[in-house]
């Protein structure tokens, strides 16, 4: 509950001291930040009767001086300009300005200059600058996420902007938790190093007063790693509930939009999947598809029982009981329909794209050995007509990442076959991926074939067999977390920033993946936290990836890299 409750506390504090009718004004980023933790009905309880975006509220001109305006914005220059214009012609009685991150002096000056009517009552910094998707998982929803794959020379200002947003988000997280961490980063990644250095500069030099908290316990650890160290996890198809919904349909800020999928009834076109509000989802979000099916069936049976008993109203007491229980009945009905719709749609997609077949090969490529068998399996699937283009691309990518160095001839054959079978395939994408995330670029032991211990572990696992072929993959993050728990994270691979040093094991570890996280990894973190090993992990990323988004980032990066080299 850590992250969610931190943001909720900030929002509560914003609203509680201001009495009377309020209007809450947000920008496109803070809308996501607030929407995942606060509901509309809770806002109404706090007497916030209007919520608007800062750009749309500039358009309207009618004065509403009986309302008090509460602004919660990111401190960007755009937002400051909007504020300038609105302060010049104030519409509301009072103005309370909350910034989601640190304001620069120049920005304060600009605001003070435009506040000629002196309507601003307070200016505060409330550091809720990240989207808390789950209790231990946050994302920064950065739109130009492909930047991390490009070298700095191509677009220095864009990259600076990207890094700044990450640094701001991480700083806000630590201010919300009131800790200052020891920072480690992945040595082989330039961008991870850059983010780590800039974060350290901010926390220990520029704003050291703000970050100077009482250091009674061991400092937490901030580990910054690069997505490209584990390119396999975002490419795989998922079979646990939350990850599967995101992979097949797409979750944005805990909302699922089913309108693009097919013909859905009107009240189920957009649904909310939040573990805070939905107990069924909370207990099933990490279960695999087969178990979910059974649990949903059980839920539907329970619901039908309740519905049947509601229909037999004979005595007055029955009637009274029905009216009493009606709100709960309605809620249960909505919940059951939501999950049934989701699972139905996902089953349809699985059927259409033959995902059971495809995913089996994917898991083999990710986990087990055998280059010859893998080559054959991938070739067969490429020849299979019902496999979609995106799945073919993923298979070839997974094969290439695994068997990059073995048998280049067969690899070439696969590239050619892919190009011939998929008309929309942008040529060279797989090679681009290998250049970004190939075996030479990776630090971690992705396939468990570098470290003797890992090889032994893999052999043992192979002998024991695996209980579910589709969920046998463990993201690289799992190994990283284990090393941290055992205190065996190598300094060579993950050096410290500056002269920091970790004494003993940290109790809080925040892992930030530049390039984005996946729900499979957040599941891994949640399960790890549930084992009560004494260390609490928090995972964050610049975006929330599924295979579509990861491929889009790759394509975008490739396109820019191509145009820049052609210009040069």
């Amino acid at each position: 509950m850590v992250l969610v409750s931190a943001v909720r506390d900030y929002v509560n504090r914003m609203l509680q001291d201001i009495s009377g009718m309020k209007v809450l004004i947000l920008d496109s980023q803070t809308v996501s930040i607030v929407s995942v933790v606060y509901s509309q009905s809770e806002l109404l309880q706090k007497e916030v009767f209007l919520v608007e975006l800062v750009d749309s509220i500039s358009k309207s001109k009618e004065p509403m001086s009986h309302l008090k305006a509460v602004y919660f914005l990111r401190p960007t220059s755009e937002n400051i300009q909007y504020m300038r214009r609105q302060l010049a012609r104030p519409r509301f009685g009072e103005y309370h300005f909350f910034s989601s991150n640190m304001l620069k002096d120049t920005q304060l000056h600009i605001l003070a200059d435009s506040d000629e009517h002196e309507v601003v009552q307070q200016v505060q910094e409330f550091y809720a600058d990240f989207v808390a998707n789950g209790p231990f998982h946050f994302s920064l929803n950065i739109s130009g996420n492909h930047m991390y794959m490009l070298p700095a020379a191509i677009d220095p200002s864009g990259l600076q902007h990207f890094c700044d947003r990450i640094v701001d988000g991480i700083a806000a997280l630590f201010l919300a938790l009131k800790r200052r961490p020891i920072i480690r980063y992945q040595r082989t990644s330039d961008i991870a190093k850059r983010v780590a250095q800039e974060t350290a500069k901010l926390m220990y030099q520029q704003e050291s007063g703000l970050f100077d908290f009482r250091r009674t316990e061991i400092s937490p650890l901030l580990l910054i790693i690069d997505r490209r160290d584990d390119p396999v996890t975002p490419l795989l198809n998922q079979w646990t509930y939350q990850a599967m919904v995101h992979e097949l349909i797409g979750i944005q800020d805990n909302k699922v939009d089913l309108r693009t999928i097919g013909k859905i009834s009107k009240d189920q076109q957009e649904v909310v999947l939040s573990s805070e509000q939905d107990t069924f989802f909370k207990s099933n979000m990490y279960e695999n598809f087969g178990d979910i099916g059974m649990n949903i069936k059980r839920m539907v049976d329970e619901f039908q029982q309740v519905a049947k008993s509601n229909q037999q109203i004979q005595t007055i007491e029955d009637m009274a009981k029905f009216v009493d229980n009606y709100p709960e009945y309605r809620k249960m009905h909505g919940n059951v329909s939501k999950h049934v719709t989701l699972v139905t749609e996902m089953s349809k997609i699985v059927e259409e794209r033959k995902l059971m077949l495809v995913s089996q090969t994917e898991q083999e490529l990710a986990c087990n050995g055998g280059q010859g068998a893998a080559f054959e399996a991938v070739t067969n699937l490429l020849n299979n007509e019902s496999v979609s283009d995106i799945d073919r691309l993923r298979l070839v990518m997974l094969y290439a990442l695994r068997y990059e160095k073995e048998s280049p001839v067969q690899l070439m054959q696969l590239f050619n076959k892919l190009a011939s079978r998929s008309p929309k395939y942008k040529p060279g994408l797989v090679q681009f991926l290998l250049k970004q995330a190939g075996v030479d670029k990776r630090t971690g032991d992705l396939y468990g074939n570098r470290d003797l211990l890992n090889i032994a572990r893999n052999m043992a696992r192979g002998l024991k067999g695996v209980e579910n072929v589709y969920t046998q993959h463990q993201p690289l993050l799992y190994q990283t977390m284990e090393s941290i728990i055992k205190g065996r994270l190598r300094d060579v691979d993950y050096p410290f920033i500056g002269n920091h040093f970790q004494q003993g094991r940290p109790q809080d570890v925040i892992i930030f993946i530049v390039g984005g996280t996946t729900y499979e990894e957040s599941r891994s973190v949640a399960l790890q936290n549930a084992t009560n090993s004494g260390i609490r992990f928090i995972l964050g990323g610049s975006a929330l990836l599924n295979s579509k988004r990861f491929l889009k980032n790759l394509e975008e990066a490739q396109r820019i890299a191509r145009t820049s080299t052609s210009v040069v």
Partner: protein
Amino acid sequence: MATRNRTILYRKYRDALKSVRVPSGSSPSSSGGPVIEMSSTSLLNPNRSYAPLSTEDPGSFSKGALTVGLPPAWVDVSEEIAANVQRVRTKMAELAKAHAKALMPSFGDGKEDQRRIEALTREITDLLKKSEKRLQRLSAGGPSEDSNIRKNVQRSLATDLQSLSTELRKKQSTYLKRLRQQKEGPDGIDLEMNLNGNHTRREDDDFDDMGFTDHQMAKIRKSEAFTAEREREIQQVVESVNELAQIMKDLSVLVIDQGTIVDRIDYNIQNVAASVEEGLKQLQKAERTQKQGGMVMCATVLVIMCLIMLVLLILKEIVF
């Protein structure tokens, strides 16, 4: 949870910038407000006495923004409903106390406790019904920011009213249950036996004695009175269930289902934007059709015809 208050620094900047702005002697139409007027008049005409602020354009927008204007009329309605809600809450507390007192074993008849409970319940139900009727008046047509605020105020008050009605019903049902338990405790068993006794004895009496003894008559009368009272209580429960069910039905349309998409802030913002655009389009379309409307044409034609007839009438009078 760290925060940083920049208000003091901000105010310092603001005051510093204000003093920089003041001696600039800017144009009177600026939104600088009264401060500039005073200083500019005093700078320009040191001999002139203090000029009142009314020299400024009375229609200027900045003046209006400085004063807190009167809120629109519907705010009064919402405040009235909110006051009712508060009153209901205090009365519910009183009702709870009255319930507890009536359930306690006492020597007296308990009739006035009953009356008080009935009175309180009726008052509360009346307040709830009145508030609910007023609530319907809060909704307005036309998409605009004001109508969104009204809709949201309506929703919030509806949630309050609904939760109060459910609470009232729960209190009532627990009270009645406990009351029934109490009443049936001492009397129920005896009554059961008596009824059964009467039944068997009636069969016997069919053959022996066609009349009832006095003792049996008293017992029958007592049981009749008891059934009548039970019926009355049940009637009351039915009435209150009906009333509250009606209120709940009306309110449930307004109340947000928690945990659904409608309860999401970003969904409501999108919808507002979409509906405002839609509304604008509809308004434009309506304007267009109205302008082209046949009604306007008809009306104009009729007016012209009337004028022509009038002229003809006058001509007829003049000629004759």
